[in-house]
């Protein structure tokens, strides 16, 4: 029986050396959701994602991915879980020495060695065509633009038809048209394949176009979680500031120089 929750995080505490980055985070992603983790820079979004996919181990708390508890799973069991997920890293994380074709074929060759070369080739062609990169099939990642690298990485992440797709800042560094294209592609994967999708981003346009559910982080804590419309209606200051694009840049000083001059003397 399939587990109803794709991702279940309870009381997650994350530390880098002595600095605590996440302070008891809870998160639930149900099957078929497009769950967007949002928050300002440095709030711990990417750290949370890296804990969910097992690249980092929690200092406290638990992470269950597709119903499997990360802490108690042995290596083969966790490997089987990893075969059922796909990850789109922020910079693409393609292997530079391999062509785009071989990058997408890599998980198929490694994880499904029984598939014939002809079937692998067909799958790669379909995935690459889905992201619109057939013309770049034989190029290597350094020969691709940033947007093409992201799309190629998405093709690789989809190669094994994952049940959950994790995307770390998918539209970062892309022009609005390519970013919107990528959003549409991600959304179609969810709609057509029922894939659960977890996206880490702070791009408001992306959030509005793809999110069914949102979890908002601020300073390493969850400040809100739920359907996008509900979260947007909440009147917590962090949420209002985030969705109204009101930042704290420059708020560290004690007013402007002009104000200081007008006040006279020290602030």
């Amino acid at each position: 029986m399939t587990h109803p929750l794709s991702v279940e995080v309870r009381g997650l505490v994350a530390r880098y050396a002595d600095t605590e980055v996440l302070h008891g985070v809870d998160l639930e992603v149900r099957r078929g959701e497009v769950h967007v983790i949002v928050g300002g820079s440095g709030c711990g979004k990417s750290t949370l994602l890296r804990h969910i996919i097992g690249l980092l181990r929690p200092a406290a708390g638990s992470v269950r991915l597709l119903g499997v508890d990360q802490a108690s799973a042995d290596e083969p069991e966790w490997e089987r879980v990893l075969q059922r997920i796909g990850v789109l890293f922020q910079g693409g994380a393609l292997i530079n020495s391999l062509s785009l074709f071989d990058n997408v074929a890599l998980p198929l060759r490694e994880r499904a060695p029984d598939l014939s070369a002809a079937i692998v080739r067909e799958i790669v062609l379909m995935k690459v065509a889905q992201v619109g990169l057939l013309q770049a099939l034989h190029l290597t990642p350094p020969q691709l633009s940033g947007g093409m690298r992201k799309r190629a990485a998405l093709a690789r992440a989809m190669a094994l038809d994952p049940e959950v797709l994790f995307c770390d800042e998918p539209s970062a560094g892309l022009d609005p048209v390519t970013a919107a294209d990528l959003d549409r592609l991600i959304l179609s994967l969810n709609e057509r394949f029922g894939m659960s999708i977890v996206v880490v981003t702070h791009e408001l346009a992306s959030i509005d176009s793809i999110a069914s559910h949102v979890t908002m982080l601020a300073a390493g804590r969850v400040v809100a979680t739920g359907p996008l419309a509900e979260v947007k209606r909440m009147d917590r200051p962090e949420i209002v500031a985030f969705f109204n694009r009101v930042g704290k840049l420059g708020a560290d000083g004690a007013g402007s120089v002009l104000e200081a001059l007008q006040r006279g003397g020290r602030a």
Binding site: D114, L115, A118, H138, P142, L160, D161, R192, F193
Partner: protein, 352 residues
Amino acid sequence: MLKLPARLTRHEVAALGAAIDAALGRRESVSIDLGDVCELDSAGVALLAGLQRRMSAGERLQITHPRPEVVKTLALFPFVDRTPAAPVEQSVTERVGEWALVAREAALDYLVLCADVAWFCVAGLFRGRGIRWSQVAFEMASMGSKALGVVGLIAFLVGGTIALQSALQLRQFGANIFVADLISVSLTRELGPLMAAVVVAGRSGSAVAAELATMTITEEVDAIRTLGLHPVRFLVLPKFIAISITQPLVTVLADALGIGGGFLVAITYLGVGPGAFLARMQQALLVKDLLTGLFKSVLFAQLIVTIGATCGMRTRGGADAVGRSTTTSVVASIFAVIVADAICSMIFYFGG
């Protein structure tokens, strides 16, 4: 008519391939019954796409009784009827030509960098903010003092080894005492500078190349340019000055410890008295020998830094390019040092 099973996922497709091939034989027109198929993934779709690809021109794969969800899934995947051609392999001549062009470009880049370094060295002396002396001090500590241990140990062992090897020959002629000449002159003129340079090429030259390569691919060098700073003055010049100061000192240490190693072997194994060894060494070793070695050490050091910097700043691509640049830098530096040493030896030998 071929009937496919209920599940057509990557776990079943691998086993089905051969059975389908056998069933189809050489038939050109095929009808496939998808009535039972209720689960289909990329591999299943790829199987059908592969069968369609095998049809001759104009013919279609007939699929019958597909369920609505199967039709939906099939509609999600594009059928690629024409694969882009792989790039044509270059011929040997083309590859040699391309290599020559790259080598020419690298040589030009190297000369430009050397010219920039030379210019900023001179100009820096007359401009208040030309040379970043605090960075020079930092680089001196990094390239010089931290290399002392490994250079000293290697020199000591090599000095002792040369003394041991030469003892076999010198003993036959009762010429043990000449081990002092051999050790002192060979180490100060040739081996001291060479050993120090090889170690520094592996240690500091690679570090220079890796640092600048990383800065280049992460656009830090471009950022420095856009700030109106010259990357050679800002990044390379402090390293160049630092190594030009520290390398002669490292070489003197290598000379001293190498002679020390030879001295130890001479007095313990060859029966040469310490006083006799030192007296002989004093006679054999000229100030010119020492200066020759020091001149070479500076030359080698400058070659190492400029080659490392050129390799680093020519880096294009991703993380693997950093590794390639670093390797190229070490190989090219050691090669250049040995060639320069041979040229210097010829000049000093024939030029007196």
